[in-house]
Subunit: 144 residues, 2 copies
DNA sequence: ATAGATGCAAATGTTTTGCAGGAAA
DNA sequence: TTTCCTGCAAAACATTTGCATCTAT
């Protein structure tokens, strides 16, 4: 049960950092873990609000920041300027459908090594990268 | 003289679209063309202001939007969320130094074709992409 | 003369912060 | 009972818009 694991690791993190376990943090974590990933702050806020009428944006954002620090979540910034959160997992990049907003993850070791080649050509040390392909997904372009 | 060419193509665009040639537009264009590229709205504003005390951000942003529509400029969005403008030229990607902010352009046809392979694997049609490598440039990491 | 441009001030939209009151340890 | 949280309102920040005024044509 992945949720249990993640919840435990949050508890652990909170404990290690002298932070408190609260109803709001649990609610945000649960919504985040139940999402398919790539969820925005607003979406989390709206979903949490269904069970927890009084929660504010403030708490959602603060909690998501916390989850990022705890290593459970990662912030992603696509072209629309709205921060999305995904569950931290092994390295990957994204295909983003400009019509329906669908986000597909992919991984390509050939590209990764090509990146290293390019970087070393410029004496550059790559710490992270961002690689996004924008277009139309299968469902949004039937005449493909 | 590339500036002459670009200025002429702006004039042409303005004329074709029944827009007026103004002192402000000329000033913004000149600053933009003199920049090494990847200049922010704020930087343009500050530089234009030296010669043209009363110009507002509004005009800078509106003019840059115009230059984009005219095909002279392209908006770029890196990780810091601040829009940068570069002179439109053939397709390329970027290395961004996280210490000094330097931006280096690169091109890699192997990566481009790998992207197409991946996209077609998902029935995805790529319209554009974004590929940025973040790290430390040669000057910012002497012990490389 | 008149369509279009300018610049100020105010609005936008997302995310963050200050602060007084509330809850976990 | 103290430390940490919460939620509100307000601020931040880059960019955009409304509007009255000004200007290129």
């Amino acid at each position: 049960m992945p949720h249990e694991v993640e919840q435990r690791s949050l508890s652990q993190y909170l404990e290690d950092h002298n932070l408190k376990q609260t109803r709001q943090r649990e609610a945000v974590l649960e919504v985040f873990l139940d999402a398919t990933g790539h969820i925005t702050g607003e979406e989390i806020y709206n979903r949490v609000r269904k069970q927890h009428e009084n929660i504010g944006y403030t708490t959602v954002y603060r909690t998501m920041k916390l989850l990022c620090e705890a290593g459970l979540a990662v912030e992603r910034h696509f072209d629309d300027g709205i921060t999305r959160y995904e569950i931290e997992h092994e390295h990957h990049d994204h295909l983003v459908c400009l019509r329906c907003g669908k986000i597909i993850e992919f991984e390509c070791s050939m590209i990764e090594s090509a990146q290293q080649d390019i970087a070393s050509r410029y004496g550059f040390r790559v710490l992270r990268h961002r690689h996004e392909l924008y277009g139309h997904c299968k469902d949004c372009e039937p005449e493909a």
